[in-house]
Every structure is written in structure tokens, then in C-alpha cells.
């Protein structure tokens, strides 16, 4: 009865004192098979006091409990990291009693507790309650936080399907028409980020000059530094070395079940195309000496 199952959207929020464990936390979340990470975002709130109110705005437990629980957050730096995800197998149950009775996904709760057990600060060898991670309980909270972060459509942003017929990432705007054409790799260009996370610009270059292409030739540090530098800033998809490495070994472009997972481009000059999505795949094709392949032209 797989097709009768529903999915739910949620988020994890890493507070400043947990950011040094970010990569380890991300790795553990990736390993949870019921979760698809959709969107990553760094966020530096102006004031922690107001931000804490926003995060717990739709939390149903009594406010005296919340203020006691979140007091420690007032003294940490204003840096956070959001991990938005789709929970493909929600197991929602009531936890707690009386005014503390809450509907939560048991799997998410278990994962959250595991991460807290591992990374919460310790005192006398015991876990403190200065939680490094927070998880949403319901989609109302996700919707509210996304609006606070500036996504006008709230949770619909995570559900965005730019085009019904193609497998596409959620960040592309909707489009109603496209062309599929076989093009030569010499006609392909891509945008690469330069600068730092707070002040960056894009540079249009050939695929052969990208950190992605260098990674395939064994230079992993260039790609790793590139991802680390911009992840959660201008790079908000779940890019990571392990996934790219696995993709480079297993990818069969446009083979079932990815028959409509085309590289998406737009024509910037006659016969010159800019990759909008699919730089990793294009790099792998080029690395495998496949110089001509079908792409979607928006």
C-alpha cells in the first residue's frame, strides 16, 4: 500500500553552538532513509529574542515551559542553519501528557534525540538541555518559518514543481514550454560562485574549469572547499562529496527511472547555453568523454 502513504514537510534548525557539528549532523540526516533533504539555509537573525519567539510561535506547549527551555539561546551567537526536508514516512503519535501533549513524528523525534545525545554540550559527563538542534512538529510551523525567511509562498516553496513533465529541482521557476535538443559540450557554460558567503558574484565559465570537473579528476579539496564556503548561502541544495562521488560512479544519464531528468539550460547567445540545473551531471558526462547529449532548453 506504498502509494497510500503521505509525506510531510519539516525542518531541523541547528543553533550556533551546534554549527561546528553541521557536516556530521547533515550526514546523519542523509542516512535516515525516510528523509529527503530539500533545502539548506544559513540565517543570522537580527535579535535572538525575537527569532526564538518566531521559531516557537506555533508550539503548543505552555509558554512558561518554553521560556525556561529557551533561555540559554539568548546567550549564543545569532547564527543558525536550517535543514528543510520531506519526511516520506511520517509516524505521527501523541507524546507527553496534559498541556504537554504534542503530536510529533516518532521517527523525527528519535533522530532529534539521537543528535542531541551526541552533540549537546556536556556537564560532568552528562548531556545538558542546551539543545544544539530543534525540529518542527507540524507543517504550520514550517510554513510560518519559511515566510519569516522571506519565502512568500511559505511551504508551497518546498512543494514547487516547476514543470509537470520533468524531474526538476524546486528552486527553478515554473515554465510552460521547452525544447529538448542534443547539443555539444563545447556549447555549454555554467555559473560558478566567487567571493565569500556574504559577498559573492557569479562567473560564467566552461565546465572544464569548474571545481566539479576537478573533483572527478581527483582534486577533491577544491570542490569540498567550494561547497563548504557557499552551502546554505547561495548554494542551497544538498550538495556533498559522498553524493557526487556516488553519482559519478553510478550515473546513466536519462536512464529509467530518471528518463526525464534532463540537464536544464537556457540559450544566452546563439548556440551558447548556460546550465541552470545539472552541472554535476554535465561534468560527469564530459569526464566520461561523452561530448554530445540531450538537454532541455528553457
Amino acid at each position: 500500500m506504498k502509494f497510500l502513504k503521505t509525506s510531510k514537510y519539516g525542518y531541523f534548525l541547528i543553533w550556533a553552538h551546534g554549527l561546528s557539528y553541521r557536516d556530521k549532523i547533515l550526514k546523519q540526516i542523509r542516512n535516515a532513509k525516510f528523509i529527503d533533504i530539500l533545502w539548506l539555509q544559513r540565517y543570522n537573525p537580527k535579535t535572538m529574542k525575537r527569532f526564538i519567539k518566531v521559531v516557537y510561535a506555533y508550539c503548543d506547549v505552555p509558554s512558561y515551559h518554553l521560556s525556561a527551555k529557551t533561555d540559554y539561546l539568548l546567550n549564543i551567537p545569532s547564527e543558525t542553519f536550517f535543514i528543510f526536508f520531506r519526511n516520506n514516512d511520517p509516524d505521527e503519535r501523541y507524546f507527553g501528557t496534559g498541556p504537554f501533549r504534542l503530536l510529533q513524528c516518532a521517527r523525527i523525534k528519535k533522530l532529534k534525540e539521537k543528535l542531541r545525545n551526541q552533540y549537546n554540550p556536556r556537564k560532568n559527563g552528562k548531556r545538558t538541555e542546551y539543545h544544539i538542534i530543534h525540529a518542527s512538529d507540524n507543517e504550520v510551523q514550517v510554513n510560518f518559518i519559511l515566510r519569516h525567511l522571506g519565502y512568500k509562498n511559505g511551504i508551497d516553496f518546498l512543494k514547487n514543481k516547476p514543470n509537470d513533465n520533468l524531474l526538476l529541482p524546486l528552486f527553478l521557476p515554473k515554465f510552460d514550454a521547452f525544447k529538448i535538443k542534443r547539443i555539444n559540450s563545447s556549447q555549454l557554460f555554467c555559473n560558478i560562485l566567487k567571493g565569500n558567503i556574504n559577498s559573492f558574484r557569479t562567473e560564467t565559465i566552461k565546465i572544464e574549469k569548474t571545481p566539479h570537473y576537478a573533483f572527478l579528476f581527483g582534486d577533491k579539496t577544491v570542490y569540498k572547499n567550494y561547497i563548504n564556503k557557499f552551502l546554505g548561502g547561495p548554494l542551497r541544495c544538498d550538495y556533498n562529496i559522498n553524493n557526487f562521488s556516488k553519482l559519478s560512479r553510478t550515473m546513466c544519464y536519462l536512464r529509467y527511472p530518471y528518463s526525464t531528468s534532463y540537464i536544464i539550460t537556457k540559450e544566452i547567445e546563439p548556440n551558447k547555453y548556460l546550465i541552470l540545473d545539472g552541472l554535476h551531471r554535465a561534468s560527469i558526462l564530459l569526464f566520461n568523454k561523452i561530448n554530445s547529449f540531450p538537454v532541455v532548453i528553457k
Binding site: D164, N165, A177, F178, K181
Partner: protein, 212 residues
């Protein structure tokens, strides 16, 4: 010798054999067609159908074809296969009935067409499979709709009426298609407004004629 079509329609329809659809205005030459021809398909889920078409279409990209897809999120999806920059074949995929001006057809008629579709045996790579066509009743009804809708602009559509009359003559029971037509047709939205307007105009006409 008959010229071979570059796109093998059997290849495409073999791949959609498991999803519900109906080919409208079926051409007896199937799977043969002439360059520039199109095929209209009714289905429940046009993106599911279009994805299957694109999946097979990928193979033809190696043979010099390009694919143009349009009206993906709205209306009926068109998937054009272009060869040397000319439309070679078009799939017109409908998930909803098009809007008619001269006749109002209830939206759910499309589901009746798909559910009552009849199967026709075909072969692809020595394998037997079925394509799905509207039942005889729906075929007459769809022809009638096309005749009513387009006759004023395209008098050649009289061929549909001729076909209907010929069919009824040879098989009088087929006249029952009119029952289904009545079940699935409505008065146009502006019909009552139109009547009111005419009535008011007539009243004014008589007032003018007799009192002014």
C-alpha cells in the same frame, strides 16, 4: 515501395499500454502517418502520458530529432517531434475537454470516453499489445461535437455529419448516441442572458412601433 516513417508510433503506444487513454480521431493507417500529422489523446493524467512519450522520444534525439513541448502546465500539452526544423509529428494530450463555443459539454465526459474505450490489437517487436479508441457511440458523439463547433469556419467538417448519418442508416440502433449527447451537454453559460436580451429588445421594438 512505401516510405517508412521515422518515428515508430507502435514504440510510443507500446510504452503507454498500461495507462488509461483513448486516441481521438483514430486514423485507420495507424501506425503509419504522413509528415506533419498529429494525434489527439484523452487521458486522466497528461504529465504521466507525456513523460512516457518523452522517455521514448529520447531515443529519437540521436536520430536528428528535436522535441518541443508546450502548454505543459495549462490546457492541452503538445509534444512536437521536429526533424530538420519542421514538425514531423505531434502528440496533443488532453486531460480536460477543450472549451467549445457552440456547444457546452460537461467536463466529466472525458472520463466516460476513457472508461468506455475499446481496445484494438497491435504488434510491436513481435509482442502483442492494445491501443485504446473511443467506443462507437463516443466516436459518433465526438464527431458530432466537432461538426457543431467548427462547421461555420470549416465547411469540410460536414464530413462528420455525413459519417454519422451513414452510420445510423446502416445501423439504426446507433441513434442512441443522442441519449448520451443529451446527458453530457448543457446550455451555454450565456444562454439565459441571450434570451433576456432578445426579450428586452423585442419589448422595446413593440413600444417604439405602437407608442412612438
Amino acid at each position: 515501395m512505401k516510405k517508412q516513417n521515422l518515428l515508430n508510433l507502435n514504440n510510443f503506444f507500446y510504452n503507454v499500454r498500461k495507462i488509461p487513454y483513448a486516441i481521438i480521431k483514430y486514423n485507420d493507417n495507424f501506425p503509419n502517418y504522413h509528415k506533419g500529422q498529429d494525434i489527439d489523446v484523452f487521458c486522466y493524467n497528461k504529465s504521466q502520458f507525456a513523460q512516457k512519450i518523452l522517455r521514448v522520444g529520447n531515443k529519437y534525439l540521436n536520430k536528428g530529432f528535436e522535441i518541443n513541448a508546450s502548454d505543459i502546465n495549462t490546457g492541452n500539452t503538445k509534444i512536437d517531434f521536429l526533424f530538420k526544423n519542421e514538425i514531423y509529428f505531434r502528440f496533443d494530450i488532453y486531460q480536460e475537454l477543450p472549451c467549445f463555443r457552440n456547444i457546452k459539454i460537461k467536463k466529466h465526459y472525458i472520463y466516460s470516453v476513457i472508461e468506455n474505450a475499446v481496445s484494438l490489437q497491435q504488434h510491436y517487436k513481435n509482442k502483442q499489445y492494445f491501443i485504446y479508441l473511443p467506443s462507437k457511440i463516443d466516436d459518433l458523439l465526438l464527431r458530432y461535437i466537432e461538426y457543431i463547433e467548427y462547421y461555420q469556419l470549416r465547411p469540410d467538417k460536414i464530413k462528420h455529419l455525413d459519417y454519422i448519418l451513414k452510420t445510423i442508416k446502416s445501423d439504426p440502433e446507433r441513434i442512441c448516441f443522442l441519449n448520451k449527447l443529451h446527458l453530457y451537454t448543457d446550455l451555454p453559460d450565456d444562454f439565459s442572458k441571450h434570451i433576456k436580451k432578445n426579450l428586452i429588445q423585442k419589448i422595446f421594438y413593440f413600444i417604439k412601433k405602437f407608442f412612438i
